[in-house]
Symmetry: C2
Subunit: 480 residues, 2 copies
C-alpha cells in the first residue's frame, strides 16, 4: 500500500502516537497509544519518512520533548515524532479553554445559552493562546516538511494551522480533517465574529477539508457561505468553497471500525476473563443491553438511563430478564459541568437499581473506570447496543459492537450520530431527546427475532468496516 | 382604511384584547389590554364584524367566559370577542408545558441540551393538551366564521389551528403569523419527530404563513424542506412551500412601533412625574444607558450587566458620569429557571453597585416591578439604548426608544434580534455573547457626537415606524 503515498507525509494532531511516564527509577518510558490515526498512519509504512507533529500533553511529556527537536523512531514505535514543548499555561488555555470548552460546545450544541458562553476578557486571553498553539504547529510543520510534502492536519484543536502553514510554505499540499460534527450557521454564530471567521479561514487554508459525513461537510460550507460570503459550488456530492480567490475542496471520509484488529483483540485471554466475570454479574439467561461511552455531555447517558427506567416501568415482563451494562468512562473531569454530569449518571443508576432490583437481579451494571478489555467483553455479550448521542461526529462504538458481538446485536442508534448515515438502515433509529421513543426502541430491539438480528448485524458489521483506519487514511492522502 | 378589509375578519390568539378582574362587590370588570394586535385590529373599524377568538387566561376569565358563546362588544371595547373556556389543567399544559417551555425554547435556542429537553411520558400528555387547545380554537373559529371569511391565527401557541381549521372549513382564507424567531433545522429537530412534523404541517394548513423577518421565514422553509421533504420555491424574496399537493405562501411583515401613540403617551403627566423621579435618582449631568425587558432568558440581561461592569472597569473616566437604568420586569415566574435567572440579575446588579458606587453616584438603577409610564420616562431620558437579546423575533424596545428619546439616543443592538434587519445600519451592532464587544459598543455609544446621534436617531425612528401596527395588520390581510 505504501506505493500510493507521496514522497513525504506529515501528520499534525494535538495528541500524538506516544506519551511518556516516569518509571520508579526516574527514567522516562514511552507508551504507544492507539486510535484510528495511529492505525491509519501505519498504512504508509515505516520507510515513508513520515513525521508526526503533536503536543506534549503532560509535564513528563514536556520533559521528554524538551531540547529534542525530533524523537527517534525507536522511542516511538516506528514513526518520526516531533513533540512540541508548549508551555503548560498556553496549552491549558488552548486545549481546555478554546478547543474543549468552546469549539467542542459549539459543534455539539451543548451550551446553556441564557448564561453560557460569555466571551469576556478571559476568553480573549485563551484565544490568544489558541493562536499561539496553532502557530507553534505551523512553525514545526514548516520546518519539518520537505518540498511538496503532504500535511494532514487533524481536528478542532488545529483549525488555524492550515492557513498559518500555507503562509509559511505555499509549496505544501495541506489537508484538514474534522473528527467532530459541524454546527449550523445560526449556532456557529455564537462565536465572536472575528473568531468565527478566523476558524473558517484557517481551515480554508487547506487544499482539502474533510469531514466524517456529508451532513457536517454541508454545515461547514453553509457557515463559509453565510459568515464569509464564500462561494459554494456543488459537483454531485462534492463541494468546493471559494473564498478570497482560493478554492478548497470539501471531502467526506467516514472512518470505519478496524474489524480485523477488533475480532482478534476481543478473543484474547484478558477479554475472556472479563467476559466470565460479567456473565456471572449478569446471571443466566438474561438479555444484555450494552453502552460504552466516555462520560461526555454529548453522549446522552442520562437520557439513556431514563429510557431504560421507562422500559422497566412500562414492560414489567422484562424484570429479571434484562440487564443494562453501562460503561461511562471518565472524561474532562477538570471541567465542573462534566463532574456534575457524572454525578447525575451515578445518581440515576442507583435510583434504577433501588427501584427495580430484587433478589440477585441487578438491572443495571454501571462501571466508571476505563478498561478496554472489559469493554470488548461487553461488546461480545451485547444483545442490544444503545448508542444515543445528542450529536456526535461519528461514534465508533456503534460500529464496533456489531463487529464484535458474539451472537449479533440489535443497534438502537441516534439519528444525530454521524454513524447514522451509514448504519441507519439496519438500526432502530431514535431521536436522542425522546426518551419515550428510546424506551420503545429498546423493547423492539430486545424482542427482535434471532433471524432478523443476524441478518441486520451482518449488514451493520459490513457497513461499519467499509473504511477501516488504514484505508480511511490513504483515501485522504490520495484525494489530497 | 376599512374598505380594504374583507367581509369578515377573525383573529385567533392565546391572549385576547380583554381580561377580567373581580371587583370588591363581586362583579366582574373587563379590562382592555394593549399590544400590536389590539392596535392593529382597530384598523378595520368596529363595523367590520370582526371576531377575536382567545383563551380565558385565569379563573376569573373562565367565569366571565363560561356560558357565553360570545361577549358583547360593549364589554370588550368594540370587538366581538369569544373567549374560550378551556379547562385550567389543559390550558396549563398547552401554554406552559408546550408553548412556553418547549416551542419557545426551541425557537430561541435556549436549552441546556445535555440535560434538557427530555421528551418523556409527561411531555406526551402536555402535547395531547396542546392538540386539544388548538382544536378548541379551530372549533370556535369554524363556528364563528362566515363563508369565505379571513382568519388570522397568531403565534406559537396556535401552530396546529390553521390545518385543523382548514379540515373543518376549506372555504376560509387562513393566515398564520409567527411573532417569534424560527429555529434552524438542526435545532428544530430536537422536537420529537411526529411533533416537529405536526407543527410544520399545522402552519402549512394556512394559505399564507408570515414572519417578522426574512431570516425566520427562511428558517421555517428550511425546516419544511429538511423535515417534511417539502418543495421550496423562490420568487425574489418571496418563498412558497409546497407539501402534499398544497402550496403555502411565506410572507414577511416587520411589525413596527406605533410612533403616534408613543409620542403622545410619553408626554402625559404620569410619565412626566416619573421622569422627574428618575432624573433625581440619576443625578445631574450624567449620561443614561437604558434597557427595558421582561426578565426573559432570551433577553440577555445578565451579559448586558457583565458588559456594563466591564465598561466601568476598563473606562474609569465614566465613573460618576454614567448611570445604567435597567428595567427587568417579571416574566414566567412559574418556571424555576426564570426565577433563578431573575436572582442572577439581581445579584449582579448588587455586585456592580457595591464595586463602583461612591457618594451619591449609584451606577445602576434596577427596577423589577412593571410600570409602563416609568418605562416611557426612561425611554425619554436614554442617551444609549441597550438591546442585546441572544435571539428575538423582533424586539420592539429597540424600535420604541429612538422614537421616544428626548435628545436622540445611540442604539447598541444585537445582530440576533429581528429588528437588526431594519435598524442594523444605524445601530452599533454586537454579538450578544461577546461581552467585550458589548462593553466597547457601550463606550462608543456614550462618546458618539451629538450630530451623529441626531442623524442616526432620526433614521432609526423612521425605520422603526415604517410599518406601525395598523398598517402591519392590514398588510397581512391584503396579502392573504
Amino acid at each position: 500500500m505504501a506505493t500510493t503515498a507521496p514522497a513525504q507525509v506529515l501528520v499534525a494532531s494535538n495528541r500524538g502516537p506516544v506519551s511518556y511516564t516516569r518509571s520508579e527509577d526516574g527514567t522516562l518510558t514511552a507508551k504507544r497509544g492507539g486510535g484510528g490515526l495511529v492505525s491509519g498512519l501505519s498504512a504508509i509504512g515505516p520507510d515513508a519518512g513520515a513525521v508526526w507533529v503533536c503536543a506534549a500533553l503532560s509535564d513528563v511529556d514536556r520533559e521528554a520533548a524538551h531540547g529534542h527537536t525530533r524523537l527517534a523512531p525507536e522511542d516511538t514505535g516506528g514513526q518520526q515524532v516531533r513533540m512540541l514543548d508548549i508551555d503548560a499555561a498556553t496549552f491549558a488555555d488552548a486545549y481546555n479553554g478554546i478547543a474543549n470548552s468552546t469549539l467542542w460546545f459549539v459543534h455539539h450544541l451543548l451550551y446553556q445559552t441564557p448564561l453560557e458562553p460569555v466571551f469576556d476578557e478571559g476568553f480573549r486571553s485563551q484565544w490568544a493562546a489558541y493562536e499561539a498553539y496553532n502557530s507553534a504547529f505551523a512553525d514545526a510543520l514548516a520546518e519539518e516538511a520537505a518540498q511538496g510534502a503532504a500535511v494532514l492536519v487533524q481536528d478542532y484543536h488545529l483549525t488555524l494551522t492550515p492557513r498559518l502553514l500555507r503562509e509559511r510554505r505555499p509549496d505544501l499540499r495541506i489537508g484538514h480533517f474534522s473528527h467532530t460534527p459541524w454546527a449550523p450557521p445560526d449556532y456557529y454564530r455564537l462565536l465572536p465574529d472575528d473568531v468565527a471567521a478566523e476558524v473558517l479561514r484557517g481551515i480554508l487554508g487547506a487544499d482539502r477539508a474533510a469531514f466524517l459525513t456529508h451532513r457536517w461537510a454541508r454545515a461547514f460550507a453553509d457557515c463559509c457561505a453565510e459568515l464569509l460570503g464564500a462561494e459554494v459550488t456543488h459537483e454531485g456530492e462534492e463541494l468546493t468553497v471559494t473564498h478570497e480567490g482560493r478554492s478548497t475542496r470539501i471531502g467526506v471520509h467516514g472512518l470505519g471500525a478496524d474489524g480485523e484488529f477488533l475480532r482478534e483483540r476481543s478473543h484474547r485471554p484478558d477479554v475472556d476473563e472479563r467476559l466470565a466475570d460479567l456473565r456471572e454479574q449478569i446471571g443466566d439467561g438474561r438479555k444484555v443491553i450494552v453502552r460504552v461511552d466516555r462520560t461526555e455531555l454529548s453522549k446522552n447517558i442520562v437520557r439513556g438511563l431514563i429510557a431504560y427506567r421507562r422500559l422497566l416501568r412500562t414492560h414489567p415482563e422484562w424484570h429479571g430478564r434484562v440487564v443494562h451494562v453501562a460503561f461511562a468512562y471518565p472524561s474532562r473531569h477538570d471541567l465542573a459541568v462534566y463532574r456534575e454530569y457524572t454525578a447525575e449518571v451515578q445518581r440515576l443508576a442507583e435510583e434504577i437499581n433501588s427501584e427495580f432490583g430484587r433478589g440477585e437481579w441487578r438491572p443495571l451494571i454501571l462501571h466508571v473506570k476505563d478498561d478496554f478489555a472489559r469493554s470488548l467483553a461487553a461488546y461480545r455479550l451485547a444483545d442490544v447496543a444503545l448508542v444515543n448521542p445528542i450529536r456526535d461526529g461519528m461514534n465508533l462504538v456503534a460500529k464496533e459492537i456489531p463487529v464484535v458481538s458474539d451472537d449479533g446485536c440489535a443497534l438502537v442508534l441516534s439519528r444525530e450520530a454521524g454513524a447514522y448515515a451509514e448504519l441507519g438502515g439496519d438500526a432502530i433509529v431514535v431521536n436522542p431527546y425522546d426518551t419515550e421513543e428510546t424506551a420503545r426502541a429498546l423493547h423492539e430491539a430486545l424482542t427482535m427475532s434471532t433471524g432478523e438480528r443476524a441478518v441486520r448485524t451482518k449488514r451493520l458489521a459490513a457497513a461499519a468496516t467499509a473504511l477501516p483506519p488504514q484505508r480511511w487514511f490513504l483515501a485522504q492522502l490520495e484525494a489530497l
